[in-house]
Amino acid sequence: MTLPNPKPRSSEEFEQLKAVWRAPKGFSFITVVNNTYVGLFYIGTAVLFFLLAGVLALMMRSQLAVPENDLMSEATYNQLFTMHGTVMMFLFAVPAVEAMGVYLLPNMQAARDLPFPRLSAYAFWAYFIGGTAFFCSLFFGLAPDGGWFMYPPLTSYEYSPGHNADFWLLGIGFIEISAIAGAIEIIVGILLTRAPGMSLDKLPIYSWAMLVFAGMIVFAFPAVILATALLELERAFHWPFFVAEKGGDPLLWQHLFWFFGHPEVYIIFLPAAGMVSMIVPTMTRTPLVGYRLVVLALIGSGFFSFGLWVHHMFTTGIPQLSLSFFSAASMAVAIPSGIQVFAWIATIAAGRLRLTVPALFVLGFLFIFVIGGLTGVMVAMVPFDWQVHDTYFVVAHFHYVLIGGMVFPLFGAFYYWAPTASSKPLSKRLGYWTFGLLFVGFNVAFFPMHFTGLMGMPRRVYTYPAELGWDWLNLVSTAGAFMIAAGVAVFLVDLARNFRPSGAGGCGNLWDAGTLEWLPGGLYNTHSIPFVTSREPLWDQPNLAEDVDAGHYYLPNAPTGGRETIVTSPIDARPLYVLQMPGPSWPTLLSAAFTAAFFLLLTVKLVLPALVCAVIAIAMVIWWLWTTDPGPSHPPVDIGGGITLPVYQTGPMSHSWWAMVVLLLVAGSIFFSLVFSYLFLWTVSPDVWPAASGSSLPSLAWPLIGAMLLLFSSAGVAFAGRSLRSASGRRGLWPMRIALLLAVPILIAASGAELYGHWQAGLRPTTSGYAAVVYAIVGLQGLFTATSVIMGLYTLARSLCGLLDGRRRVTFDNTMLFWHYTVGQSLVGLALVHLFPRLVG
């Protein structure tokens, strides 16, 4: 093809591009939003938590090194294993793979940044501040101690009256927000900001992996968000969701937690598999064998992993046939994993593997992960699991799949991609030592645990008697753990001596890789945005790097004077419009800090200060939002190659609409989990439902009035939208404003009617599991109502300030989408609560 901008570009234009992307100086540096810096902060913080949780592991292994040890009390040990698991899973594993995505994805797709840079900055700071405070609970003896999965009744108000469990429940609240924010960003970024020509069949495998990762977060995290909210309501207000004597059920927690918990481990593994699929082709200088099959495997793992959760509950007395479905699915999920392993082996066989440090980590990953996969299929057999459940066999299994499947690829990824971030590569010699110590240390630590478990040693015990024959195995495991620590220490030395992050773009394409993140560039990513015709553009498109760097491809400048990238169509990556993006932002950082403060203060029951922080956080968010939705502020831009693109887009093709749709999928998943909770409790405790218990349902007049009010409010918003479309001039906006202003109290009245209806019928949330779940549904409706009201009033304010009209309407569209969703969710809630009990009698 002819180059889009074949003439030489001016250096003033290039200087302007660099200036627009420059990071702020001095203290304001912390307000940076560029994915390169946010990604590095994020990765660094995740590594910090890995080290901290690793120290906890060393303490545990020291306690277990010899029988009947008294290095620490059982209470301390309980906090250690709970925090080790929680920090590793929530503060290290998911953030680390998300952080690699934040750092790599825009570069790999030749976008200049993620589509919502401030959102990823917010996610990072909330995680950093909240996670650090959460970890510090250890120093006050306030760390959670009920296991990383926190089963009630142990963790409910009767048996865990202190703040420890609340720290877990509220502590992971902001991590949940971070993960969801990241997922929205990643989905929209992968689908809408790619290099032109990067159609779906040329999408890097890592992008496919991250797309599946983010999609899984959207459907899995809501279950744990709901579960933590319900358990906190039970602990704080005694709403008995999980109290069997009052018609609740502890198994409800297990279903909700593991519906999240199983996909969680694939959320952790799939990005690592994606990274391996980028490293192996480079190290063998051969395209990945079986690209389509690997895409199938990634999506298949994602889907099937949602059908496995009961395999964590094989010993709970669930009927045998039900267990068998999950056993079958747990075996079936091995097929996509196997497809990927064979694809990597085939790629290695098709090329010549250079035994670089990243390649060694990949080989280590293959060995360890496959062993973990084999023991996984073993525990998928119900009778076998009945023998090894809650023993060290399971500990061995999951460390083989998690450390093998994620930590080894992550170390490989650090060595592989370090040249894109650092002006010096990491050391080969220290890398070999790191690998050797980690690989040998890991197997010495964890392989014996298979036998320890088969010999009967249970999990989560702080010591064990000498005469059971577990002593040598434990001592060997402890030695292995310290060898792992030595390997990590060598890695830290390597980082300290060699890793020098520079905004100037690293030390070059040292591995001769084929994908776009290796193009020369800086904080602006690349001087121009290339057109791609292959999966390995650097191998197949001659002179690509030179031409991109000389500005001969698309958008070699900053025509609107601000940060921009190109939005492309999701399937064929045709350029659609230029996305105007923000730069450094104080309100983003402040809203993250106050969000974290809100959760932490609530944990220690300082309710009024918590509410103050919540109000400030919301105010900061509104200040932040006020600078979004710039409207068609600039005439269409010529990006080169005869293509002129608008700088603003409304309607279903806008990135903002897509982000809102993903958010609504999250909301729908939370609601779906709540509907499941209602129906599950009805299945197991029908005796507390109205028909059996005699407690009265409100008369049908209440939900009928509520439904009418809901529909009126939606109609108002729909009318507002239509009148906005045909509005001309400033006076033409008044019908929209009045419709919106009227819709607000109508929506509030609908929520109020539902709440009052139950209250006046005598239902109180503390009486039974039925009452608790009904009030939870009402409460969720209230929460969505409040959010819709804030959005509606915000939209009104923008319109009154002249920042919203018929052409500049993205803010209105977001409000409209959320509003209609709220109404739809509330209607389904009304039908469930008022019609279902009457239908089943």
Partner: protein, 115 residues
């Protein structure tokens, strides 16, 4: 490229997994309710109601998946590389889901329902 045609293309490519999910949800919920509400002992034409429901669901799901797989494998009007890619992906997805659906249905032939 409108949002709807993306959603439709993506959903059709993943139709195999969606059918797997519906089948899985149905067999699990039906079995759970049958045991919790004790209607698993009902027999229809001499076959227990649970094996019958699971068996029928499995046959219907597996049949649909086989059909989707065969239809997408036929040479079709693939206008662009991405359209061709999505068509092939549809067949692969349906094939893998077929295996998973059959595998999930098989226990019903061997395992007692509610014990």
């Amino acid at each position: 490229m409108t949002e709807r045609s993306f959603n439709l293309s993506f959903a059709s490519a993943l139709s195999g997994f969606l059918i797997w999910a519906v089948h899985f949800l149905f067999v699990y919920i039906f079995t759970a309710l049958a045991c919790a509400r004790r209607f698993a002992d009902i027999g229809v034409f001499g076959v227990g109601i649970v094996p019958l429901a699971v068996g029928l669901a499995t046959i219907v799901a597996a049949g649909s998946l086989a059909a989707i797989c065969l239809v997408s494998l036929r040479p079709g009007p693939a206008k662009t590389p991405s359209a061709h890619f999505l068509r092939r992906l549809t067949a692969l997805v349906a094939g893998l889901s077929f295996v998973a659906v059959v595998w999930a249905g098989v226990p019903t032939l061997m395992v007692p329902v509610c014990r």
